[in-house]
């Protein structure tokens, strides 16, 4: 019994030590993070939780700080998941379970149709909070995509994703490639031209340095240039038969065959790390990718990256909405916040600091001449404005992201497991069917 007694004494000491530790940690964190679920603290302060994916850039551009200064009774707490697919799964579980939803949730453009068709009852009609009609402020398709057939507005558009091509000017120079933006745009006016230039680069580049990050990002960019992508206006799936999808697939497969892909899965730690190591020299760049590059490559990347108009036609890849779940206890305050965040002035700031291209028309007009010192003073305002003006108004399907994910994985197979392209294509089809339940 003596040993048991000793053990008990120790256990008690230990227990209290752990308790103190946890309490200390818990308290220190609660002062900085407050509790979730939008509580009103005793001092009348309202905490708004904002839950996002990727890089919206509100925090990075200092917008929260500014808003809190303007509204001293508001405290904003943001959480962020890089990979949208993970974010969406967690969001669905929360919507189903009713817990843990933030006051503001980001919605990707590839999901907005799903929200409108299947979960309109889970989100607040923003018109009821005095927001909108947004149609005359935003590019037309952006607002209508977030509106239900009976006229409820479920999300405010933040950015859209006009496409360009980001490239490492320093690595281009080393490999003897031109770095003049117009000249490059000329050379890669088609996707074949992009591949041809890639081969030139590969012949001269240092071992281990490749042309671009992944087949999946090239695929996403090329498919994004179509008006009808995976589903047609009636919501009928066309991803299996669409010639445009097949063409994008073929470009991506050639890219892999020619050894031009670094074969990095997007949104993974390995991909992130490669931004600073020079493993890839080009990256398909929807406007918002600029912010991601800045975040990952950091200050060391400043001046090394540049932007030029991208290959093929111009298209849209990504872009988002902000929505307010029904469960929010501070819907009014949340509405004020998202209205402010999506207003002209803030959208301009976001573009200047992070490159997120506004869906707000007034903001679009205001940023035409912006240049970005991080990207070697590239005229990003002009490049992305021209891209946005020419891009098609996409038809959005409820399962767009599911299909995207399937193609991304299939291209990953081609890259990393040397699966035959035809077999990988079939896997993609199987995966979509399995996920959608067909």
């Amino acid at each position: 019994m003596a040993t048991a007694g000793a053990a008990r004494t120790r256990a008690v000491t230990l227990g209290s030590a752990v308790l103190v530790l946890a309490l200390a940690a818990g308290c220190s964190s609660s002062t900085s993070t407050k509790s979730a679920g939008g509580d009103t603290a005793k001092d009348g302060k309202v905490t708004l939780n904002v839950d996002l994916f990727g890089t919206f850039g509100f925090k990075e551009a200092g917008l929260y700080a500014e808003y809190q200064k303007l509204h001293p009774n508001i405290e904003i707490k943001q959480t962020d998941t890089q990979d949208e697919a993970q974010y969406w799964q967690a969001l669905q579980t929360k919507l189903a379970g009713g817990g843990g939803l933030a006051d503001v949730q980001g919605i990707e453009v590839g999901r907005i149709a799903s929200v409108v068709q299947k979960q309109a009852d889970k989100f607040t009609d923003l018109k009821s909070l005095g927001l909108g009609p947004a149609s005359d402020e935003l590019v037309p398709w952006k607002g209508s995509a977030a509106t239900t057939p009976d006229g409820k507005l479920l999300g405010l558009g933040t950015d859209i994703g006009p496409e360009a091509m980001c490239f490492r000017a320093d690595l281009f120079k080393q490999a003897g490639l031109p770095t003049d933006r117009d000249q490059l745009a000329q050379k890669w006016s088609t996707w074949d031209g992009y591949l041809a230039l890639g081969k030139q680069y590969a012949a001269k580049a240092k071992a281990g340095n490749t042309w671009t990050d992944s087949a999946a990002s090239v695929f996403a960019a090329e498919v994004g240039q179509q008006r009808v992508r995976y589903f047609d206006e009636q919501g009928k799936p066309v991803y299996e038969t669409s010639p445009a999808v097949k063409a994008a697939w073929n470009t991506s497969v050639s890219l892999v065959k020619d050894g031009l892909s670094a074969e990095l899965p997007e949104w993974t730690p390995e991909w992130n790390k490669a931004f600073s190591t020079g493993k890839f020299a080009t990256l398909s760049c929807p406007a918002w990718m600029g912010g991601y590059i800045k975040g990952q490559a950091g200050d060391a990347g400043k001046g090394k990256w540049d932007v030029a108009p991208g290959p093929g036609k111009t298209g849209n890849w990504g872009g988002s909405y902000l929505a307010i779940p029904r469960t929010s206890k501070h819907a009014k305050e949340a509405a004020d916040l998202i209205k402010w965040l999506t207003a002209e002035e803030q959208q301009v700031t976001l573009f200047k600091k992070l490159g997120s291209f506004p869906s707000n028309k007034a903001a679009q007009a205001a940023i035409k001449d912006v240049k970005d010192p991080y990207f070697s003073d590239a005229p990003i305002g002009q490049i992305f404005s021209e891209a946005a003006a020419a891009m098609p108004a996409q038809v959005l399907g409820a399962d767009d992201q599911v299909v995207t994910k399937a193609f991304t994985d299939a291209l990953g197979e081609v890259e990393r497991t040397k699966t035959a392209p035809d077999a990988a294509w079939k896997h993609a089809m199987d995966n979509v069917r399995n996920a959608t339940g067909g």
Partner: protein, 332 residues
């Protein structure tokens, strides 16, 4: 279902088996207080003792179990889980033609073998060494058990880094001896080895201690007489230690088999995706069930997979027990 508990007893124990049943209560003394209250206490008290356990157990253990079977016969979607549409056995029959299910079943098996076999063999070897008289034996034992105390999530996050393709430490080490980088994520065999490594790392020390405990209960006389017969250390290990450990080994095999069948956290966090790799190359049944339920939001299908997993465990444990019984018959 009680097979897993009773099976090891059937082995030829070197030591007498414990008496699993409590000693029969002796007749109560005839004299004593027989107040009605006392009599009521005698009758009702046992039920009062087990009631708290069974109340929770019924609500959170038994009911969900049966309800899962009910759910598996319906179409139920996560977003609208209060709406159920009767499907009969459709969720089960579709598994038969579901290539992803068979893939997951195959992976569960191969990862199970890759993680269990080396793990138990190493554990046996380490236990043998730990059974020597050693300086710092407590240190060794505690160090070996530390991975066991680490959570699945923490261990997997760390190993996922070590196994990185481009910047991982393991590929760097391989590089220093001239081996070209291995794609520990996309390559089927390599990724399964990666996942198995996490399992092996966490459980080897634990199993070694279990074996060590078993070894220490083998009577020394057996070794003495073996030594007198001229058996070498290795022969003693083979002919005294291993047979003496048979019930313990069987137990660890059963527990590891059950664990391997349910493997979930390691493959989920290895790359962070419920798909278990771009080709689902290390997606286990447990992970596939999670993907169907919380990735694709098909709860009915997920329920069917859960029941199949359960039946699989029952079969595996029964097979284990049958093998053990046969061996003990042929050798006994």
């Amino acid at each position: 279902m009680a097979l897993s508990t009773s099976a090891p007893n059937r082995g030829p124990d070197p030591a007498p088996p414990p008496s699993p049943a409590p000693a029969p209560a002796r007749p109560r003394p005839a004299a004593g207080l027989r107040a009605p209250l006392f009599r009521w206490d005698q009758k009702a008290a046992p039920y009062a003792f087990v009631a708290p356990f069974f109340a929770f157990f019924a609500a959170f253990g038994l009911f969900p179990l049966l309800y899962t079977a009910y759910v598996s016969l319906h179409r139920v979607e996560l977003q609208t889980s209060d709406r159920m549409e009767w499907l009969g056995l459709r969720n089960y029959t579709r598994l038969i033609e579901d290539p992803f299910f068979w893939n997951a079943l195959r992976n569960t098996f191969t990862i199970g073998v890759l993680s269990t076999v080396p793990q138990l063999l190493m554990a046996l070897g380490l236990a043998h060494l730990l059974n020597y008289r050693l300086r710092g034996r407590t240190f060794f034992r505690v160090a070996m058990l530390m991975p066991y105390a680490t959570s699945v999530a923490a261990a997997t996050l760390v190993f996922a880094q070590l196994f990185g393709r481009d910047y991982g430490l393991i590929n760097w080490l391989l590089g220093t001896v001239g081996i070209s980088p291995v794609d520990w994520q996309a390559n089927t065999v390599a990724s399964q080895i990666g996942v198995s490594t996490v399992v092996t790392w966490r459980w080897t020390g634990y199993n070694a201690l279990i074996y060590l405990a078993g070894m220490q209960s083998i009577p020394g006389e057996l070794y003495e007489s073996a030594a007198m017969d001229g058996a070498s250390r290795w022969q003693q290990f083979l002919h005294v230690t291993v047979p003496g450990l048979r019930p313990t080994i069987l137990f660890t095999v059963v527990v590891s088999t059950i664990g391997a069948t349910q493997l979930f956290g390691e493959p989920l966090l290895y790359e962070g995706s419920a798909a278990g790799g771009v080709s689902h190359q290390y997606q286990t049944l447990g992970l596939y069930m999670y993907e169907q339920g919380w990735g694709f939001f098909h709860l009915g299908r997920a329920a069917a997979i859960a029941w199949v997993m359960f039946l699989l465990i029952v079969v595996l444990v029964a097979v284990n027990a049958a093998i053990a019984r046969r061996r003990s018959r042929t050798e006994g």
